[in-house]
Amino acid sequence: MALDTAMVKKDFPILHQHTGERPLVFLDSAASSQKPQSVLDAMQNYYETTHANVHRGVYAIAERATAMFEEARNKAARFIGAPATREVLFTKNVTEGINLVANAWGRANLRAGDSVLLTEIEHHANLVPWLMLKEQLGIELRYIPVGDDGQLDLSDLDRLLDGVKLVGVTALSNVLGTIPPVRRIADAAHAAGALCLADGAQYSPHMTTDVVELGVDFFGFTAHKMLGPTGIGVMWGREELLESMPPFLGGGEMIRDVRPDGFTPNELPWKFEAGTPPIAEAVGLGAAIDYLEALGMEQVRRHEVELTTYALTTLAERHGDDLTIYGPAEASQRGGVLSFAYKGIHPHDISQVLDQAGVCVRAGHHCAKPLMRRLGVGATARASFYVYNDEADVDALSEALTNTSDFFF
Protein backbone atom coordinates (compact mmCIF):
# COMPACT_ATOMS: atom_id res chain seq x y z
CA MET A 1 0.00 0.00 0.00
CA ALA A 2 1.10 3.53 -0.74
CA LEU A 3 0.46 4.58 2.86
CA ASP A 4 1.24 2.81 6.11
CA THR A 5 -2.35 2.93 7.35
CA ALA A 6 -1.50 1.25 10.65
CA MET A 7 0.76 4.20 11.43
CA VAL A 8 -1.75 6.72 10.08
CA LYS A 9 -4.59 5.26 12.19
CA LYS A 10 -2.49 5.78 15.33
CA ASP A 11 -2.58 9.53 14.68
CA PHE A 12 -6.39 9.68 14.84
CA PRO A 13 -7.68 9.39 18.41
CA ILE A 14 -11.31 8.93 17.37
CA LEU A 15 -10.43 5.74 15.50
CA HIS A 16 -9.16 4.11 18.69
CA GLN A 17 -12.67 3.63 20.06
CA HIS A 18 -14.53 0.35 19.72
CA THR A 19 -18.08 -0.81 19.12
CA GLY A 20 -18.14 -3.85 21.33
CA GLU A 21 -15.17 -5.89 20.17
CA ARG A 22 -14.74 -4.15 16.86
CA PRO A 23 -12.78 -0.99 16.06
CA LEU A 24 -14.68 1.95 14.62
CA VAL A 25 -14.78 1.66 10.83
CA PHE A 26 -15.24 5.20 9.58
CA LEU A 27 -16.28 5.26 5.92
CA ASP A 28 -17.89 8.70 5.72
CA SER A 29 -14.96 11.02 5.11
CA ALA A 30 -16.64 12.50 2.05
CA ALA A 31 -19.12 14.04 4.49
CA SER A 32 -16.42 15.08 6.97
CA SER A 33 -13.04 13.58 7.72
CA GLN A 34 -11.54 12.78 11.11
CA LYS A 35 -8.71 14.86 12.61
CA PRO A 36 -5.19 13.77 13.50
CA GLN A 37 -3.70 14.58 16.91
CA SER A 38 -1.43 17.21 15.34
CA VAL A 39 -4.43 19.26 14.17
CA LEU A 40 -6.12 18.98 17.56
CA ASP A 41 -2.86 19.93 19.31
CA ALA A 42 -2.23 22.91 17.04
CA MET A 43 -5.64 24.36 17.81
CA GLN A 44 -5.44 23.61 21.53
CA ASN A 45 -1.95 25.06 21.71
CA TYR A 46 -3.07 28.19 19.88
CA TYR A 47 -5.83 28.79 22.43
CA GLU A 48 -3.56 28.01 25.37
CA THR A 49 -0.66 30.24 24.33
CA THR A 50 -1.55 32.73 21.65
CA HIS A 51 -5.20 33.63 21.22
CA ALA A 52 -6.04 37.27 20.51
CA ASN A 53 -7.97 38.92 17.71
CA VAL A 54 -6.04 39.27 14.45
CA HIS A 55 -5.02 42.45 12.62
CA ARG A 56 -5.90 44.60 15.65
CA GLY A 57 -3.71 44.38 18.73
CA VAL A 58 -0.11 45.58 18.82
CA TYR A 59 0.79 43.41 21.81
CA ALA A 60 2.91 40.32 21.38
CA ILE A 61 0.30 37.54 21.40
CA ALA A 62 -1.93 39.51 19.02
CA GLU A 63 0.93 39.87 16.60
CA ARG A 64 1.68 36.17 16.95
CA ALA A 65 -1.97 35.26 16.37
CA THR A 66 -1.99 37.40 13.23
CA ALA A 67 1.21 35.78 12.01
CA MET A 68 -0.19 32.29 12.58
CA PHE A 69 -3.43 33.19 10.83
CA GLU A 70 -1.63 34.60 7.80
CA GLU A 71 0.86 31.71 7.79
CA ALA A 72 -2.15 29.38 7.41
CA ARG A 73 -3.19 31.43 4.39
CA ASN A 74 0.31 31.03 2.93
CA LYS A 75 0.09 27.27 3.39
CA ALA A 76 -3.35 27.15 1.79
CA ALA A 77 -2.09 29.20 -1.17
CA ARG A 78 0.87 26.87 -1.64
CA PHE A 79 -1.35 23.80 -1.24
CA ILE A 80 -3.47 24.73 -4.27
CA GLY A 81 -0.74 26.39 -6.31
CA ALA A 82 -2.26 29.86 -6.05
CA PRO A 83 -0.10 32.45 -7.84
CA ALA A 84 -0.63 34.97 -5.01
CA THR A 85 -1.56 34.60 -1.34
CA ARG A 86 -3.91 37.59 -1.52
CA GLU A 87 -6.09 35.55 -3.88
CA VAL A 88 -6.88 33.13 -1.05
CA LEU A 89 -10.06 34.11 0.76
CA PHE A 90 -10.99 32.39 3.99
CA THR A 91 -14.67 31.44 4.05
CA LYS A 92 -16.77 29.24 6.32
CA ASN A 93 -16.84 26.39 3.79
CA VAL A 94 -17.22 25.87 0.03
CA THR A 95 -20.94 26.65 0.27
CA GLU A 96 -20.16 30.12 1.60
CA GLY A 97 -17.39 30.51 -0.99
CA ILE A 98 -19.77 29.84 -3.89
CA ASN A 99 -22.34 32.16 -2.32
CA LEU A 100 -19.58 34.77 -2.22
CA VAL A 101 -18.92 34.39 -5.95
CA ALA A 102 -22.62 34.25 -6.82
CA ASN A 103 -23.38 37.38 -4.82
CA ALA A 104 -20.26 39.50 -5.36
CA TRP A 105 -19.36 38.52 -8.92
CA GLY A 106 -22.83 37.35 -10.01
CA ARG A 107 -24.82 40.39 -8.97
CA ALA A 108 -22.27 42.74 -10.53
CA ASN A 109 -22.00 40.83 -13.81
CA LEU A 110 -25.21 38.91 -14.49
CA ARG A 111 -28.39 40.34 -15.96
CA ALA A 112 -31.79 38.83 -16.73
CA GLY A 113 -31.42 36.41 -19.62
CA ASP A 114 -27.72 35.68 -18.96
CA SER A 115 -26.87 32.02 -18.55
CA VAL A 116 -24.88 30.03 -16.04
CA LEU A 117 -23.87 26.51 -17.04
CA LEU A 118 -23.73 23.85 -14.32
CA THR A 119 -23.68 20.05 -14.44
CA GLU A 120 -26.13 17.33 -13.45
CA ILE A 121 -23.71 16.02 -10.82
CA GLU A 122 -23.36 19.19 -8.73
CA HIS A 123 -23.76 19.32 -4.97
CA HIS A 124 -26.53 21.64 -3.77
CA ALA A 125 -23.76 24.08 -2.79
CA ASN A 126 -23.10 24.72 -6.47
CA LEU A 127 -26.78 24.71 -7.43
CA VAL A 128 -28.81 26.66 -4.92
CA PRO A 129 -26.77 29.93 -4.94
CA TRP A 130 -27.32 30.05 -8.71
CA LEU A 131 -30.98 29.03 -8.39
CA MET A 132 -31.36 31.96 -6.00
CA LEU A 133 -29.92 34.29 -8.65
CA LYS A 134 -32.31 32.73 -11.16
CA GLU A 135 -35.18 33.78 -8.91
CA GLN A 136 -33.76 37.17 -8.03
CA LEU A 137 -32.14 38.30 -11.29
CA GLY A 138 -33.89 36.16 -13.88
CA ILE A 139 -30.74 34.41 -15.08
CA GLU A 140 -31.06 31.07 -16.88
CA LEU A 141 -29.42 27.85 -15.78
CA ARG A 142 -28.26 25.08 -18.08
CA TYR A 143 -26.80 21.71 -17.21
CA ILE A 144 -24.10 19.54 -18.73
CA PRO A 145 -25.69 16.06 -18.72
CA VAL A 146 -24.14 13.00 -17.10
CA GLY A 147 -24.02 9.71 -19.00
CA ASP A 148 -24.88 6.31 -17.63
CA ASP A 149 -21.14 5.67 -17.24
CA GLY A 150 -21.01 8.45 -14.65
CA GLN A 151 -18.99 10.74 -16.92
CA LEU A 152 -20.14 14.17 -18.06
CA ASP A 153 -21.37 14.16 -21.65
CA LEU A 154 -19.42 17.02 -23.25
CA SER A 155 -20.50 16.27 -26.82
CA ASP A 156 -22.80 19.27 -26.88
CA LEU A 157 -20.58 21.57 -24.80
CA ASP A 158 -20.05 24.26 -27.44
CA ARG A 159 -23.78 24.71 -28.00
CA LEU A 160 -24.45 24.70 -24.25
CA LEU A 161 -21.80 27.39 -23.77
CA ASP A 162 -23.39 29.82 -26.22
CA GLY A 163 -24.20 32.99 -24.29
CA VAL A 164 -22.97 31.59 -20.98
CA LYS A 165 -21.22 33.93 -18.50
CA LEU A 166 -19.99 31.36 -15.98
CA VAL A 167 -19.54 27.60 -15.81
CA GLY A 168 -19.72 25.91 -12.41
CA VAL A 169 -18.42 22.36 -12.17
CA THR A 170 -17.44 20.01 -9.38
CA ALA A 171 -13.85 18.82 -9.60
CA LEU A 172 -14.88 15.49 -8.03
CA SER A 173 -18.44 14.26 -7.57
CA ASN A 174 -19.42 13.57 -3.96
CA VAL A 175 -21.87 10.91 -5.16
CA LEU A 176 -20.35 9.20 -8.20
CA GLY A 177 -16.67 9.89 -7.61
CA THR A 178 -16.51 11.23 -11.16
CA ILE A 179 -13.48 13.42 -11.89
CA PRO A 180 -14.65 15.73 -14.69
CA PRO A 181 -12.05 17.11 -17.12
CA VAL A 182 -12.04 20.53 -15.47
CA ARG A 183 -9.20 21.85 -17.64
CA ARG A 184 -11.05 21.02 -20.84
CA ILE A 185 -14.29 22.57 -19.56
CA ALA A 186 -12.47 25.70 -18.33
CA ASP A 187 -10.70 26.14 -21.68
CA ALA A 188 -13.98 25.75 -23.56
CA ALA A 189 -15.61 28.22 -21.18
CA HIS A 190 -12.89 30.79 -21.76
CA ALA A 191 -13.09 30.31 -25.52
CA ALA A 192 -16.79 31.12 -25.24
CA GLY A 193 -16.09 34.21 -23.14
CA ALA A 194 -17.24 32.64 -19.86
CA LEU A 195 -15.53 32.18 -16.49
CA CYS A 196 -15.13 28.83 -14.78
CA LEU A 197 -15.65 27.99 -11.11
CA ALA A 198 -14.64 24.59 -9.74
CA ASP A 199 -16.01 23.10 -6.52
CA GLY A 200 -12.99 21.35 -5.03
CA ALA A 201 -14.57 20.16 -1.77
CA GLN A 202 -13.98 16.49 -2.64
CA TYR A 203 -10.95 17.07 -4.85
CA SER A 204 -8.38 18.92 -2.76
CA PRO A 205 -8.44 16.41 0.14
CA HIS A 206 -7.40 13.62 -2.25
CA MET A 207 -5.52 15.08 -5.21
CA THR A 208 -2.64 17.42 -5.82
CA THR A 209 -4.37 20.71 -6.54
CA ASP A 210 -2.99 23.27 -8.95
CA VAL A 211 -5.49 25.99 -9.76
CA VAL A 212 -3.35 27.29 -12.61
CA GLU A 213 -3.10 23.87 -14.22
CA LEU A 214 -6.85 23.38 -13.76
CA GLY A 215 -7.25 26.63 -15.67
CA VAL A 216 -10.17 27.86 -13.57
CA ASP A 217 -11.04 31.36 -12.35
CA PHE A 218 -12.52 30.39 -8.98
CA PHE A 219 -11.77 27.32 -6.87
CA GLY A 220 -13.21 26.42 -3.47
CA PHE A 221 -12.20 23.83 -0.88
CA THR A 222 -12.95 23.18 2.77
CA ALA A 223 -10.80 22.19 5.75
CA HIS A 224 -13.07 19.69 7.46
CA LYS A 225 -12.97 17.23 4.58
CA MET A 226 -9.15 17.23 4.58
CA LEU A 227 -8.32 16.46 8.21
CA GLY A 228 -8.88 20.05 9.37
CA PRO A 229 -11.58 21.60 11.55
CA THR A 230 -15.10 22.61 10.58
CA GLY A 231 -15.86 26.29 10.07
CA ILE A 232 -13.13 27.25 7.63
CA GLY A 233 -12.71 26.90 3.89
CA VAL A 234 -11.06 28.74 1.06
CA MET A 235 -12.35 30.41 -2.06
CA TRP A 236 -9.52 31.18 -4.43
CA GLY A 237 -10.11 33.62 -7.28
CA ARG A 238 -7.93 35.24 -9.91
CA GLU A 239 -6.66 38.53 -8.57
CA GLU A 240 -8.08 40.86 -11.21
CA LEU A 241 -11.52 39.28 -10.78
CA LEU A 242 -11.43 39.64 -7.00
CA GLU A 243 -10.22 43.23 -7.41
CA SER A 244 -13.12 44.05 -9.73
CA MET A 245 -15.77 42.47 -7.51
CA PRO A 246 -17.68 44.38 -4.85
CA PRO A 247 -17.44 43.01 -1.28
CA PHE A 248 -19.83 40.24 -0.20
CA LEU A 249 -20.40 40.53 3.56
CA GLY A 250 -19.95 43.91 5.24
CA GLY A 251 -18.51 44.63 8.68
CA GLY A 252 -15.25 44.90 10.53
CA GLU A 253 -11.97 43.82 8.95
CA MET A 254 -13.23 44.16 5.37
CA ILE A 255 -13.00 47.98 5.37
CA ARG A 256 -10.23 50.55 5.03
CA ASP A 257 -12.42 53.46 6.06
CA VAL A 258 -15.98 53.98 7.21
CA ARG A 259 -17.80 57.31 7.16
CA PRO A 260 -21.43 58.07 8.04
CA ASP A 261 -22.17 58.24 4.31
CA GLY A 262 -20.01 55.46 2.92
CA PHE A 263 -17.08 53.08 3.20
CA THR A 264 -13.88 52.14 1.41
CA PRO A 265 -13.22 48.41 1.23
CA ASN A 266 -9.99 46.86 2.47
CA GLU A 267 -7.47 45.38 0.07
CA LEU A 268 -7.37 41.70 -0.87
CA PRO A 269 -7.90 39.25 0.70
CA TRP A 270 -9.44 41.00 3.72
CA LYS A 271 -11.98 42.84 1.53
CA PHE A 272 -13.93 39.56 1.54
CA GLU A 273 -13.42 38.66 5.19
CA ALA A 274 -15.92 40.56 7.29
CA GLY A 275 -15.82 40.17 11.05
CA THR A 276 -13.48 38.23 13.32
CA PRO A 277 -12.34 35.23 11.28
CA PRO A 278 -12.04 31.60 12.47
CA ILE A 279 -8.46 31.96 13.72
CA ALA A 280 -7.94 28.67 15.56
CA GLU A 281 -9.60 26.94 12.60
CA ALA A 282 -7.11 28.55 10.23
CA VAL A 283 -4.30 27.27 12.44
CA GLY A 284 -5.94 23.83 12.32
CA LEU A 285 -6.18 24.01 8.52
CA GLY A 286 -2.48 24.83 8.37
CA ALA A 287 -1.69 21.80 10.55
CA ALA A 288 -3.89 19.59 8.34
CA ILE A 289 -2.02 20.75 5.26
CA ASP A 290 1.26 19.99 7.03
CA TYR A 291 0.02 16.48 7.84
CA LEU A 292 -1.15 15.80 4.27
CA GLU A 293 2.04 17.16 2.76
CA ALA A 294 4.10 14.98 5.09
CA LEU A 295 2.18 11.96 3.73
CA GLY A 296 2.52 13.39 0.23
CA MET A 297 -0.54 14.17 -1.87
CA GLU A 298 0.59 11.79 -4.58
CA GLN A 299 0.75 8.98 -2.04
CA VAL A 300 -2.65 10.00 -0.70
CA ARG A 301 -4.14 9.65 -4.18
CA ARG A 302 -2.26 6.41 -4.88
CA HIS A 303 -3.55 4.93 -1.62
CA GLU A 304 -7.08 5.91 -2.57
CA VAL A 305 -6.84 4.28 -6.00
CA GLU A 306 -5.41 1.10 -4.43
CA LEU A 307 -8.13 0.91 -1.82
CA THR A 308 -10.89 1.74 -4.31
CA THR A 309 -9.59 -0.96 -6.65
CA TYR A 310 -9.63 -3.43 -3.77
CA ALA A 311 -13.16 -2.40 -2.79
CA LEU A 312 -14.57 -2.57 -6.33
CA THR A 313 -13.01 -6.02 -6.82
CA THR A 314 -13.84 -7.67 -3.51
CA LEU A 315 -17.34 -6.21 -3.21
CA ALA A 316 -18.18 -7.44 -6.72
CA GLU A 317 -16.74 -10.89 -5.94
CA ARG A 318 -18.75 -11.31 -2.77
CA HIS A 319 -22.01 -9.58 -3.63
CA GLY A 320 -22.22 -9.81 -7.42
CA ASP A 321 -25.44 -8.46 -8.89
CA ASP A 322 -26.91 -7.81 -5.44
CA LEU A 323 -24.74 -4.72 -5.28
CA THR A 324 -24.90 -1.78 -7.68
CA ILE A 325 -22.10 0.76 -7.43
CA TYR A 326 -22.79 4.04 -9.21
CA GLY A 327 -20.24 6.04 -11.17
CA PRO A 328 -17.16 5.23 -13.24
CA ALA A 329 -16.11 1.58 -13.12
CA GLU A 330 -12.34 2.22 -13.11
CA ALA A 331 -10.71 3.21 -9.81
CA SER A 332 -8.20 5.38 -11.66
CA GLN A 333 -11.09 7.35 -13.18
CA ARG A 334 -12.79 8.13 -9.89
CA GLY A 335 -12.44 9.26 -6.32
CA GLY A 336 -12.73 6.90 -3.36
CA VAL A 337 -16.43 7.49 -2.87
CA LEU A 338 -18.72 4.53 -3.54
CA SER A 339 -22.45 5.19 -3.71
CA PHE A 340 -24.34 1.96 -3.86
CA ALA A 341 -27.65 0.16 -3.84
CA TYR A 342 -27.90 -3.27 -2.25
CA LYS A 343 -30.68 -5.80 -2.80
CA GLY A 344 -33.35 -3.11 -2.81
CA ILE A 345 -32.80 -2.45 0.89
CA HIS A 346 -33.29 1.23 1.68
CA PRO A 347 -30.02 3.09 2.37
CA HIS A 348 -31.31 4.18 5.78
CA ASP A 349 -31.80 0.59 6.76
CA ILE A 350 -28.41 -0.45 5.39
CA SER A 351 -26.72 2.35 7.30
CA GLN A 352 -28.58 1.43 10.49
CA VAL A 353 -27.57 -2.23 10.38
CA LEU A 354 -23.99 -1.35 9.41
CA ASP A 355 -23.82 0.96 12.41
CA GLN A 356 -24.36 -2.04 14.69
CA ALA A 357 -21.07 -3.40 13.35
CA GLY A 358 -19.35 -0.06 13.93
CA VAL A 359 -19.31 0.66 10.19
CA CYS A 360 -20.19 4.31 9.49
CA VAL A 361 -21.58 5.03 6.02
CA ARG A 362 -23.75 7.85 4.80
CA ALA A 363 -27.33 7.28 3.66
CA GLY A 364 -29.40 9.81 1.81
CA HIS A 365 -29.38 12.09 -1.21
CA HIS A 366 -25.92 13.51 -0.46
CA CYS A 367 -27.11 17.07 -1.14
CA ALA A 368 -27.46 16.20 -4.82
CA LYS A 369 -31.19 15.73 -5.40
CA PRO A 370 -31.11 16.49 -9.15
CA LEU A 371 -28.50 13.76 -9.57
CA MET A 372 -30.56 11.33 -7.47
CA ARG A 373 -33.51 11.93 -9.80
CA ARG A 374 -31.22 11.42 -12.79
CA LEU A 375 -30.11 8.08 -11.28
CA GLY A 376 -33.74 7.23 -10.64
CA VAL A 377 -33.26 6.68 -6.91
CA GLY A 378 -34.44 8.53 -3.82
CA ALA A 379 -31.25 7.92 -1.94
CA THR A 380 -28.10 5.83 -1.93
CA ALA A 381 -25.78 4.47 0.70
CA ARG A 382 -22.26 5.79 0.36
CA ALA A 383 -18.92 4.56 1.64
CA SER A 384 -15.98 6.93 1.23
CA PHE A 385 -12.31 6.39 1.96
CA TYR A 386 -9.46 8.47 3.28
CA VAL A 387 -5.88 8.14 4.43
CA TYR A 388 -6.73 6.13 7.57
CA ASN A 389 -8.85 3.50 5.80
CA ASP A 390 -7.46 0.12 4.87
CA GLU A 391 -8.47 -3.20 3.38
CA ALA A 392 -9.80 -4.41 6.73
CA ASP A 393 -12.29 -1.52 6.69
CA VAL A 394 -13.51 -2.60 3.25
CA ASP A 395 -13.78 -6.20 4.50
CA ALA A 396 -15.83 -5.00 7.49
CA LEU A 397 -18.18 -3.17 5.12
CA SER A 398 -18.54 -6.23 2.93
CA GLU A 399 -19.23 -8.53 5.89
CA ALA A 400 -21.74 -6.07 7.37
CA LEU A 401 -23.59 -5.93 4.04
CA THR A 402 -24.09 -9.69 4.17
CA ASN A 403 -25.44 -9.31 7.70
CA THR A 404 -27.84 -6.64 6.46
CA SER A 405 -29.17 -9.03 3.87
CA ASP A 406 -29.56 -11.78 6.48
CA PHE A 407 -31.50 -9.38 8.68
CA PHE A 408 -34.01 -8.20 6.11
CA PHE A 409 -34.53 -11.38 4.08
Partner: protein, 163 residues
Amino acid sequence: MALEDLYREIILDHYRSPRNRGELQSPPARRVEGYNPLCGDEVVVFLDVDGDKVTDLKIAGQGCSISQSSASMMSAAVKGKTLAEARALIRAFKGMMSIHEHRLDGDPENGEAGEGEIAATEPEVKLGDLEALQGVVKFPVRIKCATLSWNTLQQGLDEAATT
Protein backbone atom coordinates in the same frame (compact mmCIF):
# COMPACT_ATOMS: atom_id res chain seq x y z
CA MET B 1 -28.98 -0.66 21.58
CA ALA B 2 -30.24 -3.81 19.95
CA LEU B 3 -31.32 -3.65 16.35
CA GLU B 4 -34.36 -5.77 17.22
CA ASP B 5 -35.69 -2.87 19.31
CA LEU B 6 -36.00 -0.91 16.10
CA TYR B 7 -36.88 -3.57 13.59
CA ARG B 8 -39.63 -5.52 15.37
CA GLU B 9 -41.08 -8.45 13.44
CA ILE B 10 -44.40 -6.69 12.84
CA ILE B 11 -42.52 -3.74 11.31
CA LEU B 12 -40.61 -6.00 8.95
CA ASP B 13 -43.90 -7.71 8.05
CA HIS B 14 -45.51 -4.39 7.07
CA TYR B 15 -42.34 -3.45 5.20
CA ARG B 16 -42.28 -6.68 3.19
CA SER B 17 -46.05 -6.72 2.60
CA PRO B 18 -47.29 -3.16 2.79
CA ARG B 19 -51.04 -2.73 3.28
CA ASN B 20 -53.15 -0.37 1.17
CA ARG B 21 -50.31 0.22 -1.24
CA GLY B 22 -51.31 2.04 -4.43
CA GLU B 23 -53.19 5.08 -5.63
CA LEU B 24 -56.75 6.39 -5.68
CA GLN B 25 -58.11 8.42 -8.52
CA SER B 26 -57.55 12.06 -7.67
CA PRO B 27 -59.89 13.83 -7.74
CA PRO B 28 -62.16 12.81 -6.16
CA ALA B 29 -59.57 11.46 -3.72
CA ARG B 30 -57.35 13.94 -1.95
CA ARG B 31 -53.66 13.53 -2.81
CA VAL B 32 -51.05 14.78 -0.29
CA GLU B 33 -47.28 14.53 -0.61
CA GLY B 34 -44.80 14.45 2.22
CA TYR B 35 -41.02 14.70 2.04
CA ASN B 36 -38.19 14.05 4.39
CA PRO B 37 -35.62 16.54 3.11
CA LEU B 38 -32.91 14.81 5.14
CA CYS B 39 -32.98 11.52 3.29
CA GLY B 40 -35.16 12.12 0.24
CA ASP B 41 -37.97 9.82 1.36
CA GLU B 42 -41.31 10.61 -0.21
CA VAL B 43 -44.76 9.48 0.79
CA VAL B 44 -48.00 10.14 -1.06
CA VAL B 45 -51.23 9.67 0.85
CA PHE B 46 -54.48 9.28 -1.11
CA LEU B 47 -57.49 9.98 1.01
CA ASP B 48 -61.19 9.44 0.38
CA VAL B 49 -63.31 11.27 2.91
CA ASP B 50 -67.06 10.79 2.89
CA GLY B 51 -68.83 13.01 5.33
CA ASP B 52 -67.25 12.26 8.68
CA LYS B 53 -65.39 9.14 7.60
CA VAL B 54 -62.09 8.15 6.01
CA THR B 55 -63.63 5.65 3.59
CA ASP B 56 -60.45 4.74 1.75
CA LEU B 57 -56.76 5.41 1.96
CA LYS B 58 -53.80 4.40 -0.21
CA ILE B 59 -50.09 4.93 0.19
CA ALA B 60 -47.56 5.55 -2.59
CA GLY B 61 -43.98 6.83 -2.64
CA GLN B 62 -40.76 5.27 -1.47
CA GLY B 63 -38.71 5.16 1.64
CA CYS B 64 -37.00 3.09 4.30
CA SER B 65 -38.51 0.21 6.23
CA ILE B 66 -39.50 2.47 9.11
CA SER B 67 -41.29 5.07 6.99
CA GLN B 68 -42.94 2.42 4.81
CA SER B 69 -44.09 0.20 7.63
CA SER B 70 -45.32 3.19 9.62
CA ALA B 71 -47.35 4.34 6.60
CA SER B 72 -48.69 0.82 6.10
CA MET B 73 -49.75 0.47 9.73
CA MET B 74 -51.24 3.94 9.65
CA SER B 75 -53.33 3.09 6.61
CA ALA B 76 -54.68 -0.02 8.29
CA ALA B 77 -55.41 1.85 11.50
CA VAL B 78 -57.07 4.89 9.96
CA LYS B 79 -59.15 3.35 7.18
CA GLY B 80 -62.83 3.33 8.09
CA LYS B 81 -62.32 5.59 11.10
CA THR B 82 -64.10 8.89 11.67
CA LEU B 83 -62.12 12.10 11.18
CA ALA B 84 -62.08 12.65 14.93
CA GLU B 85 -60.79 9.13 15.53
CA ALA B 86 -58.11 9.60 12.87
CA ARG B 87 -56.96 12.83 14.48
CA ALA B 88 -56.86 11.17 17.90
CA LEU B 89 -54.68 8.41 16.43
CA ILE B 90 -52.33 10.98 14.93
CA ARG B 91 -52.04 12.73 18.29
CA ALA B 92 -51.42 9.48 20.13
CA PHE B 93 -48.83 8.29 17.63
CA LYS B 94 -46.96 11.57 17.59
CA GLY B 95 -47.16 11.61 21.37
CA MET B 96 -45.42 8.26 21.46
CA MET B 97 -42.78 9.54 19.03
CA SER B 98 -42.08 12.69 21.03
CA ILE B 99 -41.10 10.82 24.18
CA HIS B 100 -37.47 11.10 23.23
CA GLU B 101 -37.77 14.86 22.95
CA HIS B 102 -39.11 15.00 26.50
CA ARG B 103 -36.04 13.11 27.59
CA LEU B 104 -33.80 15.59 25.79
CA ASP B 105 -35.58 18.34 27.67
CA GLY B 106 -34.04 16.87 30.78
CA ASP B 107 -37.00 14.99 32.24
CA PRO B 108 -35.60 11.55 33.05
CA GLU B 109 -38.94 10.43 34.50
CA ASN B 110 -40.32 10.47 30.98
CA GLY B 111 -37.41 8.50 29.63
CA GLU B 112 -39.07 5.15 29.11
CA ALA B 113 -41.80 4.80 26.55
CA GLY B 114 -44.36 3.02 28.68
CA GLU B 115 -47.98 2.32 27.86
CA GLY B 116 -49.06 4.59 30.65
CA GLU B 117 -47.68 7.63 28.91
CA ILE B 118 -49.38 6.86 25.66
CA ALA B 119 -52.60 6.38 27.56
CA ALA B 120 -52.00 9.69 29.26
CA THR B 121 -51.51 11.48 25.93
CA GLU B 122 -54.65 10.12 24.37
CA PRO B 123 -56.50 7.90 26.86
CA GLU B 124 -59.23 6.72 24.47
CA VAL B 125 -56.85 5.54 21.76
CA LYS B 126 -55.58 2.00 21.30
CA LEU B 127 -52.46 2.02 19.16
CA GLY B 128 -52.28 -1.75 18.86
CA ASP B 129 -49.66 -2.87 16.34
CA LEU B 130 -48.41 0.68 16.07
CA GLU B 131 -46.82 0.33 19.48
CA ALA B 132 -44.17 -1.78 17.74
CA LEU B 133 -42.78 1.51 16.45
CA GLN B 134 -42.04 2.62 20.02
CA GLY B 135 -38.47 1.38 19.64
CA VAL B 136 -37.85 4.07 17.05
CA VAL B 137 -37.59 6.72 19.75
CA LYS B 138 -34.31 5.15 20.82
CA PHE B 139 -32.93 5.98 17.36
CA PRO B 140 -33.62 9.73 17.17
CA VAL B 141 -32.67 10.25 13.51
CA ARG B 142 -35.29 7.70 12.50
CA ILE B 143 -38.22 9.43 14.27
CA LYS B 144 -38.81 11.61 11.21
CA CYS B 145 -39.04 8.43 9.11
CA ALA B 146 -41.79 7.10 11.36
CA THR B 147 -43.78 10.34 11.52
CA LEU B 148 -43.53 11.26 7.81
CA SER B 149 -46.78 9.59 6.72
CA TRP B 150 -48.61 10.77 9.83
CA ASN B 151 -47.69 14.38 9.22
CA THR B 152 -48.77 13.95 5.62
CA LEU B 153 -52.10 12.47 6.69
CA GLN B 154 -52.58 15.33 9.12
CA GLN B 155 -51.95 17.81 6.34
CA GLY B 156 -54.58 16.01 4.23
CA LEU B 157 -57.14 16.11 7.03
CA ASP B 158 -56.41 19.80 7.64
CA GLU B 159 -56.89 20.56 3.96
CA ALA B 160 -60.10 18.52 3.90
CA ALA B 161 -61.39 20.53 6.83
CA THR B 162 -60.84 23.89 5.14
CA THR B 163 -62.27 23.04 1.70
